[in-house]
Amino acid sequence: MEKPDLLYSPPPHLNSGDTVTRAMRDVLLALVPIIIVSIIFYRLNAIFILIVCNVTAACTAWGMRKLMGKPHSLEDLSAFVTGTLLALALPPTFPWWLAVIGTFLAVGVAKEMCGGLGWNLFNPAVFGRVALIILAPAFVWLNADMAPLHLRFGIIDVTSGATPLALLKLGQGQLLPSYSALFIAHPGGSMAESSVLAVLIGGLYLLFKGHINWRTPVFAIGTVFALTMLLGSNPFYHVLAGGLVFGSFFMATDWVTTPITDAGKIIFGIGMGILVALIRLYQAAPEGVAFSILLMNPLVPLIDALTRPRKFGQIVEARIPVIRIKTVSK
């Protein structure tokens, strides 16, 4: 891959050592706590889905780039980040053929067909998850045909029941788990929803490493908290249950598909939070984090254009009319 010549300041230069590979490796490291929690709860099921998604992601990225005549780019690890993120956004007993289709759509269509790493318009993992939700009716026949091939690795010691958000929706508040259980570890839903604590550890690691900005997650979670409280729901459950924390730390801070400017990041977070709250409270579906991020993604070029910072020394036209003193040339 040819490297564009990006140096534009006078020397001397210090090499920070930051590369795409390194950043991606840090994201994968940040996901380790969530993976460990998933494996503790779901044993081999979690490992199996993770392997399926990662292998599909790698094969799709390699195959698509081969078809397009580009050199393969597996060493930048971005395909594995997408694969792992998507796997963690799925429930542990998710059918593996759907996981394959979702990963293919994520890496193949949403990423490689739109120009590859750095050019994708939508977060690939979020797109894959949403595509699986939307296309579910189209897969009914496939599920019927493939059902005998469904693999289950041991019995999961989890009661399969409604997720906390679904309980909240149904008005069965007495069945809800405690805040502390939800925060530390509560199985159910998709794998990344199990433990807010694990997600926070990973998120803080990324913050510490300087890969993500605190603005988007803080404003996204804050907006959901404030809105659900104003609209008469329980804000603590809306923050602790579901994929909000995972989505806002790992999906809404994607470098490619979110605004570059600080003001833009805040707008993105608030917009996402509003959509999450509205979808959760006013739609039939109990969860809307993935849709919210996907709906905010096409707004990013406009947000960036509107929040472009002032250049050093640039004079902004004064909003207040300035009285100009006419000088008469002699």
Partner: protein, 195 residues
Amino acid sequence: MQLFAILLSGVLINNFVFARFLGICPFLGVSRKLETAIGMSMAVIFVITMASLISWAFYWFVLEPLRLGYLQTVAFILIIASLVQFVEVVILKVSPVLYQALGIYLPLITTNCAVLGAAILNIRESYTFIETLTNGLAAALGWSLAILLFAGIRERLELADIPAPLKGFPVALISTGLMAMAFLGFQGFLKGVLF
């Protein structure tokens, strides 16, 4: 509340581009630059709203009393065509720069399915005058929202390293499809609370 539901439905849920797939031609043609997209949006907002109102009046005061409902399509096309001619003359006079920028696409709205679609949908849903006004405006606003969002994306797509067979319209259509999938997220709002 009913009017709000129509407005929301037209702009977000049954978006003309993303849900009904109407008006794709100008959507792809004029979305290369933000400025032309804004100009086109203005033209479309004006044309669709006016066309909705005039075709509504024409249908209920002329075609329906004369039992000529089957002439609906022909009559509407005539009305819309003359309306667009009128808009074209006005823009040429008022802003020649905008006229230059819009180029071929302004006369193209004449035969555009989005305008005709809005007019026919108003009749089919048997909306009242105010509802027709709201629906026409909502359809046009939804179309404008789509093209404004897409113009921003389009400027990025022009720079991306996309293989030759996909460059230009193919990748634009793929991105439109991806955006349409994102807009499906609004689908549940109608069933949830509004109706």
